[in-house]
Symmetry: C2
Subunit: 205 residues, 2 copies
């Protein structure tokens, strides 16, 4: 019994890794259950003994992407002080630029985090929600330093707004849309934007 569970866990891991490889190479639309079954050497039907459906599989790949993003953000903010508003702004700039670099280097896996929609009637499981939300702690710490009098709900809303703004610049820039910031100017403009926001958020500035 134990042996069967272990074997299933190993097979599930192989399946998730195969799905990650497929998405990284061909994007979410290139993910085909048939190819995955072939890659890990099982029947098409056997896949659904390992994961409930393709949604769960894509969320498990997303979980790995988020864990790597989390590690990159932890590294970028390591030892960063938020003692002054200038320090806090520098931390926010480091976070935004790390996010941009991560998106650029993991383009298809990063896109999948936003492109994926659950099948009609399915809801995102609790563990996947909490993995996405925990990422905001990196932004919340410097925002708290910039706005010491803001309430926690206000800071949470502000962190979502700031994230969405930087995400917009990164997303249009990496898609190379006509109206986007040109790729060569992207890092500089992200720094400029977050610096302006940091200045605007500093009380009395």
């Amino acid at each position: 019994m134990v042996k069967t569970t272990e074997r299933r866990d190993r097979q599930r891991e192989a399946l998730v890794l195969a799905a990650e490889k497929a998405i990284a190479e061909k994007g979410l639309s290139g993910l085909k259950a048939r190819d995955l079954a072939e890659a890990i050497g099982c029947s098409l039907g056997a896949i659904y003994n390992l994961v409930q459906d393709m949604d769960e599989l894509v969320l498990r790949v997303g979980s790995r992407t988020l864990a790597r993003l989390d590690a990159a953000l932890a590294e970028a903010t390591k030892g960063s002080a938020s003692a002054s508003s200038g320090d806090a702004t520098d931390t926010l700039i480091a976070i935004a630029q790390t996010y941009c670099a991560f998106a650029r280097e993991n383009l298809q896996l990063w896109r999948t985090l936003f492109e994926h929609r659950m099948a009609e009637g399915s809801i995102v499981p609790e563990w996947a929600i909490s993995e996405q939300m925990t990422m905001f702690r990196y932004i919340l710490a410097p925002l708290r330093a910039l706005q010491p009098r803001a309430s926690e709900p206000e800071l949470i809303l502000l962190s979502r707004t700031l994230f969405s703004a930087v995400h917009g610049v990164v997303m249009l820039g990496l898609e190379e849309k006509l109206v986007a910031v040109p790729a060569a100017a992207l890092d500089g403009q992200i720094e400029a934007l977050v610096r302006v926001i940091g200045k605007g958020l500093t009380p009395g500035a």
Copy 2:
């Protein structure tokens, strides 16, 4: 000869209107040449006497969407002064909120402006590029008032960055992503973001 041209122009207009209706109802992925041929009463092949390909058709629909967005922005900025930095910030807020309202009310047509990619090897024609770029004039005027010492290339880059930031908040918000600003808070957060940026951009503030 003249008569034939007139007839073709009328048929082309009917085709563009049918495509607009299809996209508004079902999104870009719901646009099928066969349905359009039926809607305007011509053969499938005859469509390609009216437009070169589906790309041109989608761009013509986009052209109509942009013209309506332009009219909304003209209305929102009518009589707006940029005499002080406060006025300029208010104008930027009005522009951002008008953009958000337009996106909400024209969700599928607005999404199509960003989702559409030209077929491999095709490039966006000059007229479509200039239609997209001309929209930036609304943002450039107040930015010039906020940053009187910035060069024109700097202002153009800044206008793209600011647009992308607001677009990110609107886009994630309207897609109702987990990490987005909740729909009910969207207008307020867009105002807050642009106000913070306006304050940050004001020299000496």
